[in-house]
Symmetry: C2
Subunit: 430 residues, 2 copies
Amino acid sequence: MTAAPLSFEILARSRAAGARVGRVTTPHGSFDTPAFMPVGTRGTVKGILPSLVAGTGAQIVLANTYHMLLRPGSELVARLGGLHAFTGWHGPILTDSGGYQAYSMADINSVTDDGVRFKSIVDGSMVDLNPERAIEVQNQLGADVIMAFDDCPPSTPSSSSPPAESTDDGAVGAVADPRLTRVHARDRAADPRAHAKRVKLANERTVRWLERCDRAHKAGGRSGEQALFGIVQGGIDLEARRWSAERICAIELPGYAIGGVAVGEGSDQIAAVVRYTAPLLPEARPRYLMGVGYERDLLAAVLAGVDMFDCVLPTRNGRNAYAFTSVGALRLRNARYSDDCLPLEPGCDCVACSGPRPESAEPGFSRAYIRHLFSAGEMLGPILVTLHNLRHFQRFMADVRACVRTDDWRGLVARWPVARAGLPAGLAGE
Amino acid sequence: MTAAPLSFEILARSRAAGARVGRVTTPHGSFDTPAFMPVGTRGTVKGILPSLVAGTGAQIVLANTYHMLLRPGSELVARLGGLHAFTGWHGPILTDSGGYQAYSMADINSVTDDGVRFKSIVDGSMVDLNPERAIEVQNQLGADVIMAFDDCPPSTPSSSSPPAESTDDGAVGAVADPRLTRVHARDRAADPRAHAKRVKLANERTVRWLERCDRAHKAGGRSGEQALFGIVQGGIDLEARRWSAERICAIELPGYAIGGVAVGEGSDQIAAVVRYTAPLLPEARPRYLMGVGYERDLLAAVLAGVDMFDCVLPTRNGRNAYAFTSVGALRLRNARYSDDCLPLEPGCDCVACSGPRPESAEPGFSRAYIRHLFSAGEMLGPILVTLHNLRHFQRFMADVRACVRTDDWRGLVARWPVARAGLPAGLAGE
């Protein structure tokens, strides 16, 4: 019997909904839940020093196993002391399993019950990823939370969504909408019956693969330091979600995730799946909704009892001059901001809006300056908007955590109108 | 009579050479001399928050008038409160006059005794720059030190150097060598007699233009807050340098610069010109050597009595994975660094080498990690090497300032072997 790699303490519960606030403790420190994790795909939250990431209030970050495996390689990261020492982020880290990117980004050679074989996007070499290898790689990377290698099927039989995109934080030139990503074009069957068959296969395979992940992790010698989370699949079919949740949660693990959400469906559908699925996961374990999302989606999921989130929205959109505010987005390339001396969001306490406190009493940066930086192609533009967006999501989550204790959800959406659609009519008092 | 916009106090002098340490005070604070100014071409030291620039020890930064004039425009910057408020750098700022870039970067339409007419690289519009307009624009930008609009001739009759490059910190993809830049290809005459004639015209014109700058600045209403520096020209012809120094310094100003150096000639020639010219400038005024340079060039110039420097080397080279150390450069893209767990320079106290002190006891970043960032095209690579390089030059200048008081120049070059060639044989004890 090894020591528990992770503990989860629930500190308070909403009386009006399934929401709870808590604290997860890992070998690299604790984080408050509900938690929003910035994405550091290649071992860096793009353009942001780890100390500045921490300064936004983030307490845990995500790294993508697929990218770190291909470059610089998980063996190298292990030799250099693991992800914490390598990247300079000394707090908790979560790695995904690499499965999702292998499916969505790679030139796939084969998918079998054993695993996935694909061509590296870095050097064209053939790479195998399967439950045992995904665990071995994550053991080498050394994150505090590691994810099961799952078979993530497309959520809908067909869709007019664009072709497969990654949910890692790549250098994509467009503003991200997570609802339009994570769609596996190659794997999408227009025929609903073929799709249903594929979803069933994926759900069954995900259970078998989780059993293999669990065995491999226990055999790998790091299960006392790294917490393996299972992933519930099932697409938008609630019965498939129930089937998956029962099988996945039958395997005792430190935490469970809801995968295959925000892969092309709308906010209402996301909320419906999450409201149905989250209560099926063990009450005493942290629940992680993968790849979500906008403020309204976060709010709906917290109210359903979800504790952890990751999303590329603050970083990827930030690099594209898209600033989140409590009342909606600013697109800083717009000429209307060229002589706007306001900060991105008046009252925001981020470095971009309020300057480098507490070291100085200097003010922050104007929309006009940030627009100038984007117009001139200056790196500081993406840096400032990313810092603001990261802080925006952390401020929002901190307010959500406070509201779990007060149940003043109408007050919350008055402060964050952008999240209003995530509040069920019952709680909105309408 | 307006208040003095700038004061210069000499605090100590070398007994062995012309070097001095001092302190320049401006309306936005003071800086220690000899001073190294990072270059923030478009109103940002590329990729680095102003608070982090200050954290490297920089006390004054340079911005390029030419670039700010074309985008976002000096009128807009003035409306938004001037460069300090606009850029978030609240310490001293120096702007060049825009003349150099107009010559070297622009599609020049005409050069006359009145000034220069060129095509904007931003929108193709026709732009006029002359002494009066250069001062007006710099008055609008509001820097603490502003530079005269000069006619900078090519330094040598002909050269095998590459065609004209800017000395602003542009997004150039190559490592910078300032000795190979600032050459005006279009303006270079292969015929030595034609070249001598052009140099003579430029020198005479620079004096006439300085008189116009001085008048315009006094009439502009900001001469009590902004210090105008004159620029001595003359290329590598020492008699021309003497002629220019006498005429330029006959106009009483708060400071004087040596221009037209490091425009294609070698370190020895730079040192020869600077050793000859610096003592011709008023002892009681700060002396500024424009666009220089490597550590050896800085040392030679300090020993000749120069007080201020600017150069794009730490920033431009940093973005290209070129890290300065006391013993020479590291080129971080080299595969030899792929599993090198050392920091860029052991013992360096920069954020990249030593982490974000004093807030934390976390270590810095390894060469292997920084190489990974460059391999993966991650912004944090340029950011970390730029931060290191900026700190490298500030640490070097701080040690140089200390040596002015002790005259232990052999000790200095023992600590900074990379600067050894800047030490004259007499001081090296050889």
